[in-house]
Structure formats: C-alpha cells, structure tokens
C-alpha cells in the first residue's frame, strides 16, 4: 500500500485576473469540499495512507476534521515552513518525494503545479484546477479523481499505464538559482513583479511554449492560434513579439482579449537553448516570477523530463476493463 | 404673492401632507433624494411616497435593501459629499439596527471633523402604538435621539406641522429626525399648498388657557386637547402646548406659560421612566421654580414593552382619561 499526497494551495484562484479579466474568486471553502470529495473517493477505492501539505489556511486539515475517517486510515501532516507563499508547496513536494507517494493530488493552478514540481520533479500528479487560466490542471470531479488516487495507492492501477511524462522548460539565470516552467516561459519588459499576472501585451518580448493550445487562454493560446503544439509533440514553440509583426487577437486571460504583434514563430527542438539577456522580467506559467538584471544571461530549454500526469478518463476506463471495483461472487 | 391668493383653503390628511412636503423638497433641491425600504415601488408601507417614483424616477426615489445601517451610512456619506438625502427608517423601532450609524457617525461627524463636514440629512421615521403591531413596531424612542448632541428631533402632531417640519428639516444643514405617528396618518388638517416651514425649535400653543399647562408630545397633543375639554367643565382652564420640537427644546414657551398657570403636566406616548418628560421637568424646575405651585406631573406609558393584545394595548397607551386623572391629582380634586 502506497501513500497519497495531498496539496491544496490556499492562494490559488484569487489574483488580479479577477479584476483585469473576468475570472471569479475560487473560494477556499470549495477547495476544502474538493479535498473531502477526493478523500472520500480514495478511501472508497482502498486508500489507507495520506500525507498532506499543512497549508497556512488549514484547508486539508479542516477537511480531514470534517470527515469520518474509517479505522486504519491515516493522515500525516508534513511540517511546513508556513511562509504563505509558493515555498510551502515546494517544501511539501520535497518531503513527499521521500514518503512513498504513489500519486499526489494537487489543487491549484499552473503556478501551484510549477511550485510542486520545483520540489519533486518526478512525481505522479492528479492536478485539479482551482486556479485561473489553467493549462496543466484539469477540471474534473474530485470524487472520480479520488477514486483514481485510491486505485493507484493500492496498486490496482500503475502509473506507467495511466500517466504520461510531460514536457518541461528548464531555465538558467546567470549567477542565480535555476527555475522551471510547465507550460510557458515569457520574457517581458516589466520593471517589477508586482501583482504577477501577465496582462500588458505591449510588454511581451519573447515566449517559449511547451504546449501551444488553441483551446485555452493565456500565453499558450498565443502560440496555439498560430501553430498548435500538443504535449505529445516532442518539440516546443518559440514566439518573438515585434512592433512590425502580424496582429493576433487572442485571449490573454479569462474574458480578456488583446491584440498582439507576433514577429516570428519557430519550432524548438528538445535541448535547443533559447538565449535571452537582461534587463527583463521572466514570467513562468502566466505569472511574473524573476527579475533579470542588466546584462544577465538567461537560457531556456525544453525536454520531456517533467512530472508524470495521470489521465483520469484513461484510468477509469482501465479500472472498468480490469473490473477493479466489481466484487467477485 | 401672498398665501391667501396662492392657496385655496384646503384640508389634507397627515399622510398626504408628508407626500406633498417631500415632493416639494425634491422639486426645490436638485441634490435631494429619498432612500429607504420600499419607498419606491411600494410608495412606503404607509403610503406617503405614493406617486413620487413615477414623478421623480429611481435616481431620486431609491428603494434600498432591508439594511438600516446601509441606509443611514448611505445618507451620511452622500450628505458629506454634496447631497441632501431624505432617509426613511420605516419603523422607529428599526433604529436599533443602525444606532451606530446614527449615534457615532451621523451625530458626531461634524464635531469630530472640527466643523469640516456638513450633513444636511432628513430622516423620516414612524413611531407610536395603537395598531396592535406589538413590541417591535410600536415604540417611541425620541428620547434616545434627543440625547445625542448633533442631531435635531421633531415630532409633528398634525398634518400642517408634518409638512412644515419636513420642509424645515430638509432645508436645515443638520441631521434632523422627523418622528411621525402612524395613528395620525388619516387625521386631516388645513394645509396650505405652497412650501412653508414650521421653525425647528419652536413649540406651539394649541389651546390657550389660564390655570394649568399641559405639554404634549406628538399624538398626545390630541389626547391633551380632549382632556382639556373635560377639565374645562371642572373649572380647569388648560393651556395645551404642542412640543413639536424636542431637540432643540423650546423651554421659553413653556416657562412663559407656567409663569401664568403655575402648574404643569407633561404627556408623551413613550415609556414614562427616562422619557423626554423628565428632561422637561428638570428644565422647568431650573427656570421656573419660583412660579410653580405644585409638583410637575408626568403621564407616559407604563414601564413595559408595547403589548400586542388590543385589550392590553388600550390600557398601555396614555389617553385623555389618564391626563385628566393626573391633573385632578395635582389639583387635589
């Protein structure tokens, strides 16, 4: 019996995109309810051991308190630095890596998953969206997600048959810590991090995309509307924005459209480095994250060395095929 | 143009005098508006805003949620920034929901700001028992308001004063509470059509008399007049004063009367204990002690919440008989 990791980001789904765009607040009571449903699903399919991020808002711990835990089911809170920042998620991921977690449920947006992967790159993830314009996590019923978690914990379903390794962008910055992005890495002419969301199209300089999805919002759609790239494709896309480029009208956020001028669009092979020089601000998966100083060099590469992502539909199809939940007479 | 030429003699009920006053104020003051619960579509539960929504539109006749804190807050913020709000607190009992906004914000803002803010606010609210509306829709809380430095409080007993006091309140640059009485709504009086003010801070002698002064508040004026009629037969010639403004209180009229009559009684519908009558008694003993030949008497409601049962409410509300009995007691009759 393996453990199941639980991570709920209390800060997801609350940023400025509720104002600049037309997103709505994702309230923490709903996140708590999602945890309850997922845990119920997991226990129903045999899960017995959970380890969880002891988030600063107590989402998971409150959820556990509110459910009737059957005998033999254990929950373990991982010590948290409680910085009320992405560092809490990264710290939880580092600890889960050594706790025999067959699979981790991550509630958040692209940013939450990125923070998790910074702590445990090889994790197997079930990521449900409780964020804003998400590409990485999916919208799915938590009960079903929980059933898949349970089936994976008991060994009924194996990661290699229901999960796929995804692409990732590695970023190195001269003299500073490395970074990564799961969907997109964007260079902007911003001068500060501020409210993080990428909202000013005039400040976009270049973008490197793992995935260019036309049926999504945010940076991924900019490439997606020109040259779609799926996660299955073993390459990425590099966009350069330019004043004399072609106009592209695209949803840069939920309910928020902008006309961008795209100069060039190029396929990028694995391990081909995109080089940039500061000053600039780097945004990863839709949020401004790093300030790069004058003359500082940045290198970005794409590879298929990201986390393993569970396909819930595929998993439940397999569950049915293997009759995992059908009791024998 | 004189009033005589302008106005034909005309009788209006109290409720229509309120409507006319508000209508004329809204015409006179572009920055005035009415805000309150059910003031627009419903025209007020008492009917006194009927027709105003159609005439002035929903910019100036504003239906609010059932949110008294919000209504008073809306008025305070709007008045401080250039509007002249007329706020409606449906039943005076609901002041409990917004006493902070009244007592701590509205009443004090000008003073706390060193005179920096001016708050031309009129609040219309309905007091009084008599309709079996029980303990939370029948009270008379004017003493609460009169105790607050920074607000004015008037209580019209008749249609003429209702119109004149509402207009005076709306033209005043201070917060003024106009405490109306629900049992008076149908009561008619002569009301001129033109705009006129009844000056805030003045009482009215509604029945001149020579040997006993009755100071009556709000609807009790009518009970006092009835009592005076009864007492007349006993040789007591009562002077009845309508204390239509309780903050500020016109003590001069009362003192002048007592200099003549040497005896006084105060009657209000509010609970007698701690009622505004006590303040009047205190002022009169300070200013007219030497003229008094007897202790000043008080008639008010017993120290109980307003009861529901018609049988109980009837004995609860002070009436002419109570006044007569109290006057006789003072006189040893």
């Amino acid at each position: 019996m393996h453990a199941i990791g639980l991570v709920a980001n209390p800060a997801s789904g609350k940023d400025i995109r509720r104002l600049a765009g037309k997103a709505s607040v994702f309230d923490n009571r709903e996140k708590l309810a999602i945890v309850k449903r997922a845990v119920a699903g997991a226990i129903a399919t045999g899960a017995e051991r959970f380890v969880y991020m002891n988030d600063s808002h107590g989402i998971v711990s409150e959820a556990i308190k509110a459910i009737r835990v059957p005998r033999g089911v254990r929950f373990e809170a991982l010590p948290s630095p409680k910085t009320s920042s992405a560092m809490d998620t990264t710290a939880a991921a580092e600890q889960m890596a050594s706790r025999d977690c067959a699979v981790v449920l991550v509630l958040g947006g692209d940013g939450t998953n990125r923070a998790f992967v910074k702590g445990w790159r090889g994790a197997t993830l079930v990521s449900l969206s409780t964020g804003t314009n998400n590409v990485f996590p999916v919208m799915a019923e938590a009960t079903v997600a929980g059933m898949v978690l349970g089936l994976m914990a008991t060994g009924g379903l194996k990661a290699r048959s229901v999960a796929r390794r995804v692409k990732i962008i590695d970023v190195s910055i001269d003299g500073e810590a490395d970074d990564l992005a799961l969907i997109d890495a964007v260079a902007t002419s911003d001068t500060f991090i501020g409210a993080r969301a990428l909202l000013d199209p005039d400040r976009l300089k270049e973008a490197l995309l793992c995935r260019a999805e036309p049926a999504a919002v945010g940076m991924t759609s900019l490439g997606g509307l020109i040259r779609p790239v799926a996660d299955e494709d073993d390459f990425g896309l590099h966009l350069v924005f330019s004043k004399d480029g072609r106009c592209l009208k695209a949803p840069i956020g939920p309910g928020l459209f902008a006309t961008l001028k795209v100069g060039s669009t190029r396929k990028v092979r694995f391990d081909h480095a995109i080089a940039l020089k500061g000053p600039l601000v780097l945004a990863f998966d839709g949020e401004r994250e790093r300030m790069v100083g004058m003359g500082q060099n940045v290198r970005m590469t794409i590879s298929r060395t990201g986390p393993w992502v569970v396909d819930l539909n595929q998993a439940m199809q397999l569950c049915a095929k293997k009759k995992l939940l059908l009791e024998s007479n | 143009m004189s009033e005589a030429i302008k106005d034909q003699p005309r009788v209006l009920p109290y409720v229509s005098a309120i409507t006319e006053a508000v209508q004329q104020v809204l015409k006179e003051q572009d920055n005035a508006f009415v805000a309150g619960e059910d003031v627009g579509q419903a025209g007020s539960v008492f009917g006194y805003y009927q027709g105003l929504l159609a005439e002035f539109g929903d910019r100036r006749i504003v239906d609010t949620p059932i949110s008294e804190k919000g209504i008073i807050g809306l008025g305070v913020g709007a008045a401080a920034t250039g509007c002249r709000p007329i706020l409606d607190v449906m039943f005076m009992d609901f002041l409990g929901e917004c006493m902070d906004e009244v007592a701590n914000q509205m009443a004090k803002m000008r003073f706390m700001f060193g005179g920096g803010a001016t708050l031309p606010i009129t609040v219309l609210t309905m007091a009084g028992a008599g309709m079996n509306l029980a303990a939370q829709h029948s009270q008379s809380w004017e003493a609460w308001l009169a105790h607050l430095p920074g607000v004015k409080v008037v209580m019209p007993s008749n249609a003429y004063d209702a119109k004149g006091l509402i207009i005076a309140a709306a033209r005043d640059d201070n917060p003024v509470f106009v405490v109306l009485n629900k049992m008076s709504l149908a009561m008619p009086a002569e009301v001129p059509e033109h705009m006129y003010e009844v000056p805030i801070g003045t009482s009215a002698i509604v029945r001149p008399g020579t040997n006993f002064t009755i100071l009556a508040i709000g609807r009790m004026v009518h009970e006092a007049l009835a009592a005076a009629k009864t007492l007349e037969a006993l040789g007591v010639d009562c002077e009845v004063i309508d204390v239509r403004s309780i903050q500020p209180f016109d003590s001069a009229t009362a003192v002048t009367s007592i200099e003549k009559t040497h005896r006084a009684l105060i009657v209000h519908e509010a609970v007698r204990f701690g009622g505004f009558g006590g303040e009047i008694v205190a002022q009169l003993q300070e200013e007219a002690f030497d003229y008094l030949d007897a202790p000043i008497a008080r008639v008010g409601a017993p120290f109980s919440p307003v009861p529901y049962s018609p049988a109980l409410e009837k004995v609860y509300i002070p009436n002419a008989d109570n006044i007569v009995a109290e006057v006789k007691k003072v006189l040893g009759l």
């Binding site: 609350k14 940023d15 923490n28 991090i193 | 920055n31 706390m112 001016t118």
Partner: protein
C-alpha cells in the same frame, strides 16, 4: 506618546504602508476615502501634511479637526478624507454613501473604504458591500488584513481565511494581493479604481499585511497573543525596505538618494511635531462650536 504629549489612544499603521500608498497613488483629492483606527498612514498617503496631523494628535486647535477628533477621527474634507473611525466597520457604509453621491451627482469620483479583517465581520460592512454592488457604485473595498481583529487572530474570528472569498456573496470581484508589496497593491488597485471610475461597480481587494505594533500603543514585541518570530518574519518582508531594494536594483534610485528622502521626511516630521508642540490648545469657547451647523442653510 510615552512622554504624555500625545493623549488618549494611538493605533499605529506601521507595517501596512504598502496598502495606503499603493491604493492612494490612483486617487486624486476629489476621490474620497474612509479610514480605520489606523488613520495616520492613510492621511499621509492621501496628501495630508504633518503639521496639522501632529497638531491633531496633540489635541491642538491647529489640528485637522481643531483638536476635537484626535487620532481616531482624523479627517480632511478638502483631501477627501471622510474620517478615520473609532468604530470598527464604521467606514464602509459612509464610503458607500459617498460613492452613491458620486454616481448621483454624475461625477467621476471614486470612494475607497479601508477596513480590517476584524471589520469584515461587522454587519455594517456586509450592508455596505451589498448595496455598493446592488447599485454598481464607484467604490473600492480595501481590506487591510493584518491578521488580527484587535488582539484576536484571524483564525479565531472568522471561518474563512480570505476575506476576498466573501466577494462572490455580494456579486463583486474579489482579489487577494500581497499587502507587503507596494507594486502588487498598486497594480491591483489600479484595476479596481479604474473599474469603479468607469462605472463597472465595486471591488473587494484584500491586502495581506501585518501590524508591527500592538493594537494600540507603541509596543511591538513581547506580546501575549503573537510570537516575536512571527513579527520578525513579516518585518523581513518589509514593504518599504523591499521597495527601496527594487528601486536600487532597477536603477531608478540610489542608496544616497533614498537617504536624502529619509532626511527630508525626518525634517518634515520634526517640523510637524514642533508645530504641534508650539500650537495652542483649543479654548473652552471652542467646545460647543461645530456640534451643529449654525447659519444660513446652503
């Protein structure tokens, strides 16, 4: 205050500066604010001067309120400051009213109400929020969530952890922003104020911040209801220090220039204090002035 020169109660704003500055950068003198117990920061950020402010704290006749309001009621109508407030939750209904007035008078003014996590439990806040959204008023509700309602931690006074979660209940957008990052507040407030000004209605903007000092008074450390480590952790993210670092890193300013700003501000503060100390107290004749408006109605 410890010398007894400032009477009464003083509720310091220190630690929360990024909120006042980030929001007020988008307001003109014509825009209105209502403030909290901690009004000094808002007054300064809204364009107030030290001299009349300190004079008010000292209870002097030259103060913003002629010495009648004091720290908890500091106001200035010319600057659109509709008062600090001694009542927790006192501000939101008034700001909502000012916003109603702005819409009624068809101006482009915006009103902003600052309030704390504690005030978000007061009925007055809920009524104001509901009405602001109902009437689509040009109003921004800025919750300065400093983690405490007086001496009670947020976890002990409300079941939600983000006040912004309540926005949906009123039908307005809610946003959480790092209240220790002035640029984050600046960006979010810009969007919220613009939204209000263009007639799109109110916003609930929650800024996560921290009060370096006690609820009242000048002690910050060694308090029973919070740990010194917690205070230090927040101070490590100090809004002013991190903004200075940003300015220097981006070449906008230099350490020397920033030191000059400190020197100049210190001088202004000393001038303000000296003005307050040398100013006269109000006299007994002043007491009954300003209780009522006296004179011809406007």
């Amino acid at each position: 205050m410890e010398d007894g020169k400032i009477p009464g109660a003083l509720h310091l704003y220190v630690g929360q500066e990024a909120v006042a500055v980030g929001v007020m950068a988008h307001l003109s003198n014509a825009d209105q604010i209502t403030s909290t117990h901690r009004g000094h920061g808002h007054v300064i950020a809204k364009g107030g001067e030290f001299s009349p402010m300190f004079a008010e704290l000292y209870g002097k006749a030259t103060g913003y309120c002629k010495g009648k309001g004091g720290s908890m009621h500091i106001s200035n109508m010319a600057l659109g400051i509709l008062g600090a407030n001694g009542i927790v939750g006192g501000g939101p209904p008034i700001a909502m009213g000012a916003a109603f007035s702005n819409k009624f008078r068809k101006t482009k003014q915006v009103s902003v109400t600052f309030f704390g996590d504690g005030a978000s439990n007061e009925g007055s806040f809920h009524e104001a929020a509901n009405m602001a959204a109902l009437y689509q008023l040009p109003c921004v509700f800025v919750c300065e969530n400093n983690g405490f309602g007086e001496y009670t931690a947020q976890t002990n006074h409300q079941a939600v952890t983000d006040v912004a979660d309540r926005a949906a209940g009123y039908g307005m957008p809610g946003v959480v922003v790092d209240g220790m990052d002035v640029m984050a507040v600046y960006e979010a407030a810009e969007a919220a104020v613009e939204r209000a000004r263009s007639g799109q209605g109110p916003t609930l903007l929650e800024c996560k911040t921290y009060r370096y000092y006690d609820h009242v008074g000048v002690r910050g450390m060694g308090l029973t209801y919070r740990t010194d480590e917690e205070v230090e952790a927040w101070k490590a993210r100090d809004a002013i220090e991190s903004f200075e670092a940003l300015l220097i890193k981006q070449g906008v300013s230099t350490k020397k220039k920033i030191e000059n700003v400190y020197a100049r501000v210190n001088e202004e503060i000393l001038e303000g204090v000296a003005f307050a100390e040398s100013s006269p107290f109000p006299t007994e004749e002043d007491l009954l002035q300003d209780v009522y408006f006296v004179g011809a109605a406007s």
